[in-house]
Structures are given as structure tokens and as C-alpha cells.
Amino acid sequence: MTASDPVAARADDVWKVYGSGEAEVIALRGVSVTFQRGVFTAIMGPSGSGKSTLMHCLAGLDSVTRGEVRIGETTVTGLGDAGLTRLRRDKVGFIFQQFNLLPTLSAKENILLPLAIAGRKPDDAWFDTVIRTVGLQDRLEHRPAQLSGGQQQRVACARALVARPEVIFADEPTGNLDSRSGADVLGFLRDSVRQHGQTIVMVTHDPVAASYADRVIFLADGAVVDELHDPSPDMVLDRMKKLDAPAEVER
């Protein structure tokens, strides 16, 4: 990666088809989208519009049917298992709605897991910064079951941030949280973008959550249909209503 390259991730005419014959579902139909480095992007759209699918394809968790995906300078499409493993280890981080922590490890161990797997030494100063940002100083030795949902999600955020990946993909990270915890999580996701130049792509249903982002992409029926910059919740809500309306009429 070169600092001059402003693109952290991009999808080029990406199609994703699940199943075949009767059971065929076209989840993505020719999605082309670019994610700039150091930008917080939200992806919105009705349920089933292909948000999660797009994210999985971007992150190399799922293969694309047609088109090409790149993360930084790496062409994800066509990578073998070893290449994808390296990609996940070195270039991307994940935060999911289900917090996806290893139940057997403490918060601290969960946070350091990606580094341990990669055999990298944690940068102590950065670790402290991350922990302070997410406010987990006195919860490090607890295990996931002993933490609240919001705390667990903060652990997941810290885990993604501490490895300083090229891109962090977050799928409805606040979907399970109350507005207060959600605001906390969103706050430091935004801070990590503003202060540390982290790139984040976040799927969300919540207009308020989307308003934390620098840019919102709207997906409907597997295609990008709209885009907003520096959104406010009202603007987002407005666009969402427009998106939902035609669908309602069709039904």
C-alpha cells in the first residue's frame, strides 16, 4: 500500500448469485463502489437488499459471481485460501451484530487475538489508546459472558481497531445495543476515522447511526441506488422513505 493511493477498497461491477434454478437469488446486481481511505461510509437499504452480502464480498468472506473486489492494492477476487487468510489477518477487521467474541478468552485476550494469530507484537501505546477510547480499562480480565452487550461490542471494536487494518467492516454493530451504548460505539468508530485515519465500512438500519458516517450509500434490490455526503439523520430518513415507497407500491 502506498500512502498516495487514496482507495482503501473497491467493488467493480460485482454480481452475487446464490443457489441456482428455482432457488436462485440474485443478491447483488452489478455493484460498483469505491471506499476512500480515512472515510467512514455507511451502507443502508431495506432488509434483504444485499448489504451484508456486499460486505462479505468486499471482505473476501464470500466469493463474487462476477466482477472484481480490491482491498488496497490486493485483488481479492481469485485469491486462494492462503491469500484470503493473509488478507483477513493483515488488511481487514470485522465487527458484527452478534459480537463474535471467543467465549473462552478474556476481553484482553480477545482484543489481542488477531495480533497473536498473526504473530505480531502489540504496540503498547496504541493498545492503551484503543482501550482508553473504548473505555474498557477495568474490564480487560472479564470474559464475554460477564460483560454487557454494549461492553462486548466495545471489545469487538477494540479487537478490530488494535490491528490497524486497512479497512474495518462492521455489520449492524449497534443493532443489538440501546441508543446510549450505540452512540458510544459509533462515537469512537468516528473518532478512529477522524483522529487515526482508519477506514470503516458500516452496514446499518438506523438513520442516526448512519449520520455518524461521512457518506451513506443506499442499496435496493442488490444495486446502489443513491448516495449522500455528510448526512444528517433527517436526510437519511428521508431517502430511506423514498426507497421504501416504490417497493410498497409494487407489493
Binding site: T85, R89, F94, L113, P114, I117
Partner: protein
């Protein structure tokens, strides 16, 4: 990664304790059988015994060695089977965790290293405990053998220091082997599976599972075809081998059977519970198959052995019924021919004296291999009147002087007119074959002429026109019984021996499978707290959740019993056709009472364990668990 392994240990201890228990017991069983076998093989006949006693002791050891060889084979098989299915299961259970590891950047190699490392650790701990446990188990095995008179009195297994390496190698090797294929599969887990269930359970029947299953099935069929061909003493061990391969084949195919059995269960338990139990069975194919595995082994071996020995002893009884043409049988400590002949109504008497001797398997005088044989010395004319005699070659009437009539179980490869080298106390060094007799289950293996009759116990087989009077007259001479009584006694004696052999052979291995059953249920339940909690949150009472789990486990018992019984019946039929080829008696004994006993045992053990574990898994209020998911 090491830390992860240790932490996983801490948290999933029921699973790992289960795995350690299976390794430990498996090692103890194998070690004890091996030490006992080696001790029997190297046992010296104590000096100062009479020739006959020394021969009896030597024969006792020879029989014990055969039995222990089978026990060892069985111990090995059951240990490998139980340990590998347990380990494969523990890996399958952690699919989600492993997917998450892959998501955070772990490579396939790292996942595999983690799992193999774990297996290594479990293998070491299990082996260490197993080596210690092996000592009391060996003592128990020795006691069992002498109590059942399957080994000479005073026999005990002895400790050898080299066994430590064998046991450690076995335990660690079996654990690692067991996890190897599972880890290969686990390393293929897709990271996305941490997020969604991609229906991994549906693909339990992989191509390699099919291929290996079919190979084992084909091998079993080949063995079962071979059983009648080899016949004789090799039939039983070969049938047991066929049981090994059949059980393995059916274990591999178990996932196919799960839905088949699940369907009627769904119909049986209608309503919400039935639906739930049915869905759980279908989705937990791997879990169901793993829990069914030890049940299958138990049923296959217990029912198979009972059926095989039952078939043999029933065939033996029918053989005697067919061949014995007399009214009374009299056993005396010494010769009493005159008194027997003088008894009322006697028309024919065959005097028979047991003779133990060695016979050379090969005619080659340099490399003689002596085989201990027991025959009887008879007067051929009287014998032919009181017994059905149907030689396949030669004529029994020629039994005079230094001659012998042979069955294939005494020695094969000789023809009429050949000289057979023998070691016979006070007799010639070789005997000329005058007749070849058909194979027999009840003996004798050879007939010798009256000239070679030693002093000592006699049996008189008597035909008389007045059995009651003759019986009364002979009662003072020795132990007299009517033919019917004699056959019944011999049969019940044979059955007692069969039962003893079965207990000695299978006892420990079967205790092992019962523990493995409990183990499998506990391991399976340890993973299901969240699932149970979800069921309760959706409105099931605790009792209903426990009932659904019970229904599910009963279906699993049904699967295990079904597959085990099919394997057993395969081997029983193999044995029956071997018996028919040997002695021309067609009979199949299905041990219904044994099947019933095993079914009850498995149902009670699995059902009880299932209820207890699901009760304990639902002890925590459901909502706490749902909230703490992940």
C-alpha cells in the same frame, strides 16, 4: 495459540474430560489385555506336575492365549473407535469457534496445529492416567480368567516396563489419529460460518466418508464370505474381525440412517415436542451419529458374540443328537467294561477313553510343529454301532495297532495311508491314518484304536433294551445318564463356558462402551445450553425441553441398536453358514434375550444421562443464557 488451547481447555472441560476418560480407559484396556496376553504366552508350566497335569496346564495357557489375542484385538478396536469418534465430535462441536478464528486471520495450518496440539495434550494426560489404571484392570482380568477357568489356577498378568511406551504410544497415537481427519475437515471451515449456519451439518456424508464406508462394507462382506471357507477354529476370530469392519462401515453410514429413524420419531411424538426432537435429530446429525456410535459397538459385539456362540452350541447339540445312537452314557473313573456288559438288556457298549497327545501339523520331519489334540481311543466296531460314523475317506474299522482317524480340526493335509508324527505317552512315534472324519463341533478331534487306550477315566456309551433297569444297575458303577440327560448337560456346560468366554472377552470392552455412551451424551449436552435456553425463551417449559432431549436421545438409542443389530446379524449369519459347512447342521440362534437386555441397558443409561444433563443445562434461568450468547 497455546494460550488459546489452554483457555479452551478451561472452558470446555466436560468435553475434554470426556475425551481424556475415553483415552484413559482405552489405554488401560489395551495395556491390560496386552500384558495379560504376554504373561500367558511366556508362562512356564510349573515343575513337579504329572505329565497329564502339565499337559492340561499347557493346554489351558494355549486356550487363554487365543482368547486374550481376541480380547486384545477387541480392546484395540473399541479404543480406536470410541476415541476417534469422541475426538471427531469435539472438533465438530467447535466449528463456530474455529470459524471465528479463521475470521480473525488464522490460517488452515494454524487451526490444524491447534487441534492436533490439543489432541496431543489430551493423549498424554489420558495415557498417563490409563497406564496407572491399567494395573488394577489387569488384576481384574487375571482374576476373571482364573475364576472362569479360562486360564490355569494361579495365573496373573505381570507388569513389564516396556508397556509404558506401548501404552503411551497407543493413547497418544489414537488421540492424534482420531483428530487428524476431523482437523482436516475443521481447517476447511469457512470464516463466514461464524456468522451464519451454512448448513455444514447437512454435508456430514462427505465423498471420502462414502468411499471409506463402502471399502469397509465390501471388506466385511468378503470376510463373511471367507468365514465358511476357512471354517474350524479360525471361524470365530474371523467373524469377530468381520464385526469390526461392519461396525466401522455402519458407523460411517450412520448419518444416512439418522433421518430415516428420525422420521418415525417425528410422527410418534406429535405436537411441538415431536417437531423439536425431530428437527434436533436432523440438524444434529453428527451429534446423533457420535452418540449412537458406542451404542452400536455395544450391541454389535454383545449380540453378535451371543448369537455366534449360541449358534455354535445349538449346532453342537444338534450334532450330538444326530450322531449319538445310544440309550445311556456312563462315566467311570476306571475301566468297568465287564460290569457294563452284564447290565440288563445291554445290546452294545462302546468303551471310550480320552487321550491327549500332540500331533505334528506338517509331515516335514525337520520343522515339526506340535499341536495339542484330544481324541478318544475306541473299539471301532462298537463305536460304529453307538455312533453315526461317516468318514470322508478310508474306513474306521481299520483302527488297529498304530493307527488314527482324523478330523480336519485335529490336523489337515494328511491322506489315508499317511504316517502322522505324534507324541503320545507310552505310544508309538507315528500313527498311520486309516480314515478321515468330517469336521465336528463337539469332538472328538481324532479316533485312536483300543490298543492305545490308557488307564484312567472311561466313558461307556450303551445301547440297551431296558434303559431303566440298566441305568439302575449301573448307578453304582459311575455317573450314569440317559442320552437326553447327557445331551442337555453337555449343552448347559457348553453354554456356561460360552458365557464365561463372552464375559472375559467382552466384559471390559463393553463397560468401556457404556462409559463412552454416557460420555457422548454429556459432551453433546455441554454444547446446548444456549439452544435449550432459546427453546425455553420461545415458550417451552423446562420439563418440555428435557422431554424433547429425552425423545431425541431415545431415537439415538434406536439408531445405535438398529445399526449394531444389523452388524451383529451379519456376523451371526456368517457364523451359521460356517457351521453348516463344517458339520452339516443348519441353525441360526438369534439371542433375543441378549438384544432385549442391551436395549434396556442402553435406553436406561442414555435416557438417564440425557435427562440429568439437560436438567443441569437448563438450571440457569434461560434469559441469562440468551443474553450472554457469545
Amino acid at each position: 495459540m497455546l494460550l488459546l488451547a489452554l483457555r479452551t481447555f478451561r472452558d470446555r472441560w466436560p468435553v475434554f474430560v470426556g475425551a481424556i476418560v475415553t483415552v484413559c480407559l482405552g489405554v488401560a484396556l489395551v495395556q491390560s489385555s496386552l500384558l495379560t496376553l504376554v504373561s500367558a504366552a511366556t508362562a512356564k508350566v510349573p515343575p513337579g506336575l504329572s505329565a497329564a497335569e502339565a499337559r492340561a496346564t499347557g493346554d489351558g495357557y494355549a486356550a487363554a492365549i487365543t482368547l486374550l489375542g481376541m480380547t486384545l484385538g477387541l480392546a484395540f478396536f473399541v479404543a480406536i473407535f470410541v476415541v476417534s469418534s469422541t475426538f471427531a465430535f469435539t472438533v465438530a462441536q467447535r466449528r463456530r469457534d474455529l470459524a471465528l478464528l479463521r475470521m480473525t486471520g488464522a490460517g488452515r495450518g494454524q487451526v490444524r496445529t491447534l487441534l492436533v496440539g490439543e489432541a496431543l495434550l489430551l493423549g498424554i494426560i489420558g495415557s498417563a492416567l490409563g497406564i496407572a489404571l491399567g494395573l488394577p484392570v489387569m488384576r481384574l482380568q487375571g482374576t476373571m480368567l482364573t475364576t472362569f477357568e479360562l486360564a490355569p489356577p494361579g495365573f496373573t498378568g505381570e507388569w513389564r516396563s516396556w508397556i509404558v511406551y506401548v501404552s503411551a504410544g497407543t493413547g497418544i497415537g489414537v488421540a492424534v489419529l482420531g483428530v487428524l481427519t476431523a482437523s482436516r475437515r475443521a481447517s476447511r471451515v469457512r470464516p463466514l460460518e461464524a456468522l451464519r449456519d451454512l448448513g455444514g451439518a447437512a454435508r456430514v456424508m462427505t465423498a471420502s466418508r462414502w468411499v471409506i464406508g463402502l471399502i469397509f462394507l465390501a471388506g466385511s462382506i468378503a470376510l463373511l464370505i471367507l468365514v465358511p471357507a476357512v471354517g474350524g477354529e479360525a471361524a470365530l476370530p474371523l467373524s469377530i474381525n468381520a464385526t469390526f469392519t461392519l461396525v466401522t462401515a455402519f458407523a460411517l453410514f450412520a448419518p444416512l440412517v439418522v433421518p430415516v429413524v428420525a422420521a418415525p420419531f417425528g410422527a410418534l411424538f406429535r405436537g411441538r415436542l415431536g417437531v423439536l426432537a425431530h428437527a434436533n435429530l436432523r440438524n444434529g446429525v453428527r451429534r446423533s451419529a457420535s452418540t449412537a456410535a458406542p451404542i452400536m459397538v455395544l450391541v454389535a459385539f454383545v449380540v453378535g458374540m451371543a448369537g455366534m456362540t449360541g449358534t455354535m452350541s445349538e449346532a453342537g447339540r444338534l450334532e450330538t443328537v444326530r450322531d449319538l445312537r445310544a440309550d445311556l452314557v456312563l462315566d467311570t473313573p476306571g475301566s468297568a467294561l465287564d460290569r457294563v456288559v452284564g447290565a440288563p438288556g445291554v445290546t452294545a457298549v462302546s468303551e471310550e477313553a480320552p487321550v491327549s497327545f500332540d500331533i505334528a501339523e506338517t509331515g516335514d520331519p525337520d520343522g515339526l510343529e506340535w499341536e495339542s489334540t484330544s481324541g478318544i481311543a475306541v473299539d471301532p466296531a462298537a463305536y460304529a454301532v453307538t455312533h453315526r460314523v461317516a468318514p470322508t475317506a478310508g474306513d474306521v474299522a481299520d483302527l488297529r495297532g498304530a493307527t488314527i482317524a482324523l478330523t480336519p480340526s485335529a490336523a489337515s493335509g494328511f491322506r489315508v495311508g499317511d504316517l502322522v508324527p505324534v507324541r503320545l505317552a507310552g505310544g508309538p512315534a507315528s500313527l498311520r491314518v486309516v480314515a478321515l472324519l468330517p469336521d465336528t463341533l463337539v469332538g472328538p478331534a481324532a479316533l485312536l484304536p483300543a490298543d492305545l487306550m490308557p488307564d484312567g477315566p472311561r466313558r461307556y456309551v450303551v445301547r440297551t433294551s431296558d434303559p431303566a433297569a440298566a441305568g439302575a444297575a449301573l448307578a453304582g458303577v459311575g455317573q450314569v445318564s440317559t442320552t437326553a440327560q447327557f445331551i442337555a448337560e453337555a449343552n448347559s456346560e457348553q453354554q456356561k463356558i460360552s458365557t464365561n468366554i463372552m464375559v472375559a472377552l467382552l466384559g471390559m470392552a463393553m463397560v468401556y462402551t457404556v462409559i463412552a455412551m454416557i460420555n457422548a451424551v454429556v459432551i453433546a449436552a455441554s454444547d446446548r445450553r444456549a439452544e435449550f435456553a432459546a427453546a425455553r425463551v420461545t415458550g417451552l417449559t423446562r420439563g418440555q425441553v428435557v422431554a424433547a432431549a429425552l425423545a431425541e436421545s431415545l431415537a439415538v438409542v434406536a439408531i445405535g441398536v438398529l445399526l449394531g443389530a444389523v452388524s451383529a446379524i451379519g456376523t451371526i449369519f456368517g457364523m451359521a453358514s460356517a457351521v453348516r459347512d463344517m458339520v452339516g447342521v443348519g441353525v441360526v440362534t438369534v439371542p433375543w434375550s441378549m438384544i432385549g437386555a442391551v436395549v434396556v441397558l442402553a435406553t436406561v443409561v442414555v435416557g438417564l444421562t440425557s435427562v440429568l444433563t439437560s436438567l443441569s443445562a437448563t438450571r440457569t434461568p434461560a434469559i441469562r443464557l440468551v443474553a450472554a450468547r457469545d
